[in-house]
């Protein structure tokens, strides 16, 4: 259509100018810390232009509990309950990696009996399933699907019950100790666990039908929040975030710690089935696939624990506990695959200076680390949020936050 009327063009110009000026008005919007879809006490300051998010400024620290300061004044064994409280949805994984680091520094990592290692991996993988179930369930709620949340919590309840049976506590276990375990598995645990695996497999299939292939869910998550692989690496993302971007990087395979080299499992990666590689749907799918793989690991652990590593009456999981946890003065960075990604602890151990009666300085062995730095996977995964949420809609920002799956206990430590 060709319009030559100048008066009309003037009017049109006035109108477009008005709209253009109105739409460039920016607004600062505060999201959180008590927002249901920020998964805890995360506060985001959004600079928005209408529905478009121009910039995201995260403010964290609402759940800071001085983990590193505590670790400098407590012994290695006493700090294990504090590691549980970092990523409180996968406490077993945290204490496993902490304990691995301390054992390596003491040089006793080869002396741990096989049965203990298998029990450790068994409970860690159960806890990983529980953590991923929460990630999937709450992600559904963020998008607007309520049923998966209830289904996930129903199935997670079985895992919580089993771990409570083993350790005496539902979430914060303090079960894995340096050199051993708190207790052996209770009698009948293996059978109950196998029952759970059989029960859970069809449930996972149902969950897939409900959410993974749900058209509304796909439309909300595919091609949203695309995280390219190079950006993910540069920002230090790890775990399902990095694997969702298409990189096969799983420390259980790369480092091959504990007994993972003896186990048979795949490392799922994002393939961009519904959209682009590295979008929210890929990250979600990686978690679903990881649950399947964790179930395989659990089954293999159970096979071993029921056959060649069967419980014996004289088996004592505390037999190898070192009397004194005094490593040599050294630095060590231990890393392992937590539920959310690469969890690392950097230890600096030094001798303690003490004055004797004559006032001379003596260097004493100590059980307390000089400095501990913890590298939480959620901390690094969250730091990529401002980079991938420039120019998205506010509703998509919710989808991106949910797909990162962070735990504020670990971000703030």
């Amino acid at each position: 259509m060709n319009i030559t009327n100048s008066k009309y063009e003037e009017a049109l110009e006035r109108y477009t100018k008005k709209i253009a000026e109105a739409s460039t008005e920016e607004m600062v919007l505060n999201m959180g810390p008590q927002h249901p879809s920020t998964h805890g006490v995360l506060r985001l300051e959004l600079i928005t232009d209408g529905e478009i998010v121009k910039e995201v400024i995260p403010h964290i620290g609402y759940l800071h509990r001085c983990f590193e300061k505590h670790a400098e004044s407590l012994t290695y064994q006493q700090t294990i309950p504090f590691t549980d409280r970092m990523d409180y949805l996968a406490s077993m994984n945290n204490s496993h990696i902490w304990v691995m680091g301390v054992e390596k520094m003491l040089g006793i990592e080869k002396e741990i009996p096989k049965r203990i290692e298998y029990i450790r991996v068994l409970v860690c993988e159960l806890n990983r399933i529980a953590s991923h179930l929460i990630a999937i369930g709450t992600y559904g709620i963020d998008i607007g699907a309520f049923t998966p949340f209830l289904w996930c919590f129903r199935d997670r309840e079985h895992i919580m019950g089993m771990l409570e049976w083993a350790s005496g506590s539902r979430m914060l276990y303090n079960y894995i100790w340096v050199g051993g375990l708190f207790y052996d598995l209770p009698v009948g645990f293996e059978e109950r666990c196998r029952e759970f695996v059989e029960y859970f497999k069809p449930k996972l299939h149902e969950l897939n039908g409900l959410l993974t292939e749900n058209q509304i869910f796909i439309q909300r998550t595919a091609n949203v929040g695309v995280l390219p692989m190079d950006v993910a690496i540069n920002y230090g993302c790890s775990g399902p975030m990095l694997r969702g971007s298409g990189l096969k990087w799983d420390l259980r395979r790369i480092d091959g710690y504990s007994i993972y080299p003896e186990l048979d499992f795949e490392v799922p990666v994002g393939k961009g089935e519904m959209g682009t590689v590295g979008d929210c749907w890929d990250r979600y799918k990686v978690r679903v696939d990881e649950i399947e793989q964790s179930l395989r690991i659990v089954e293999q652990c159970l096979d071993r624990l029921q056959k060649e590593l069967k419980r014996t009456p004289d088996f004592d999981p505390r037999a190898k506990l070192p009397k004194k946890l005094t490593p040599k003065p050294q630095d060590y960075y231990v890393r392992g695959e937590g539920a959310k990604g690469e969890l690392g602890f950097y230890f600096i151990h030094q001798k303690k200076k003490e004055f004797d009666k004559e006032g001379n300085i003596r260097l004493m062995d100590t059980e307390i680390p000089f400095r501990v730095k913890s590298r939480g996977p959620s901390f690094c995964n969250l730091s990529v949020l401002p980079a991938i949420s420039k120019g998205v809609m506010i509703a998509d920002l919710i989808a991106i936050i949910g797909s990162i799956d962070f735990v504020l206990g670990e971000v703030d430590r």
């Binding site: 964290i60 590193e68 230090g236 630095d331 960075y333 600096i348 590298r375 690094c380 990529v384």
Partner: protein, 166 residues
Amino acid sequence: MSFEDIKALLINKFGEDVIVGEEPGGLQPALLIAHERIVEVCLELRDNPKTYFDFLSCLSGVDYGVDEKRFGVVYHLASIPYQTQFTLKISKENNRDLGELPSFPSITSVYHAADWHEREAFEMEGIFFEGHPDLRRLLLPDDWDGYPLRKDYTTVDKYYKGIKID
């Protein structure tokens, strides 16, 4: 590449004075780098096809004790293509005066992952990072006094905003 190879590579590229020492023993050998050249060393290690240390695992600020008067930063790098790990350390002497913070170059231009880690090291140990784009406090309140992970840190006040500290 082994520890010695990486050391030779860096000496080849930047000269002898870039390396001020090494800790070869222990579980993870570390290379001590001249603190003002850490950015170019990181960039070289990241981009050199023989090393490709493209993943910054961890960055820790360290206060080496009240008697030492020495502050440092420890970098744990990982290479995804080669599946190797490497540790770099920088440190310098500085007094413990809160008005004169020890200052190191920021490596955020090489690894974005360093951004939040450096902010944390700044508020916890009181280490300043030159060239950091946004060096605000991260975990603590904006008006916090002192640097809690310094070895001589004590809570000076009995009260924090009217709340009694035991």
